[in-house]
Symmetry: C2
Subunit: 149 residues, 2 copies
């Protein structure tokens, strides 16, 4: 863990830092990314997990529209750029060891490329798994080519 995040463990409420101090100390992985959890701000539903580079995070904080880094396409991914289903940023948080983001968002329509509200639609227990949510919309109406989200 970085010295900065270690020092915040015992910091009082209200202790503040600049964005650069924090982003310099974030533990980006070998690819320069950290996982970002998107949670609907009012319902509390966890919608998806995607990845952010420093550039994606800085753009998200500056614009208020969530931008991830697509590992499969190896470029910035402005959520909704293909589907129109954008995520507006309500708030962002870093975790105790500076390697995960929690985003409070306002998601327009489905967050999932399958047309479902949330990406977490496969319930799992020790016996097995089951699909337990249906698409809100047909993904063919969201994507022209069916390959991007």
């Amino acid at each position: 863990m970085s010295e900065l995040f270690k020092s915040l463990e015992s910091a009082p409420c209200g202790e503040s830092l600049t964005a650069d101090e924090l982003l310099d100390a974030v533990r980006w992985n070998a690819d320069g990314l950290i996982p970002a959890i998107a949670q609907q701000h009012d319902s509390g539903e966890v919608l998806m997990l995607a990845w952010m580079s420093r550039q994606a995070l800085e753009e998200t904080l500056a614009n208020g529209r969530v931008c991830y880094y697509s590992r499969s396409r190896a470029k910035l991914w402005r959520k909704g750029e293909s589907s129109g289903q954008v995520q507006s940023l309500v708030g962002a948080r870093l975790d105790c060891d500076g390697d995960t983001l929690l985003l409070s968002v306002d998601q327009s329509g489905p967050a999932c490329h399958t047309g479902r509200r949330s990406c977490f639609y496969i319930a799992l227990d020790k016996q097995g798994g089951e699909v337990d949510a249906a698409p809100l919309v047909d993904p063919a109406t969201l994507y022209g080519d069916g390959n991007t989200r």
Copy 2:
């Protein structure tokens, strides 16, 4: 994405699979791990993100007590084994591309090794960050050596 998760995109609600079919298709990373988000089942609060190996996930599903894989200690980490602050599993979900888990849990006391309820206690915006939650308990009372959680 695996063929199995691709095929589930258009599966109807109720489509079921065995646990082995799903776990064989999960996209474990190069270290054999996937991220697992822990969400308090009743309040919806996102408590933490940690990592699971297949063995950790199988143990969690079998026992109902959440077991992660500690990357820093390179071994299974039964949440609460040092602190007593265990996580009971309420439900588990896989996401659309089979590389992230969402765990619904019942967390006893603080989830965070700093003694805070949630690990996400650093609020961040374009100006900067601020610690905005205080420990529920002094971490020194949770850990004998201060190094494990």
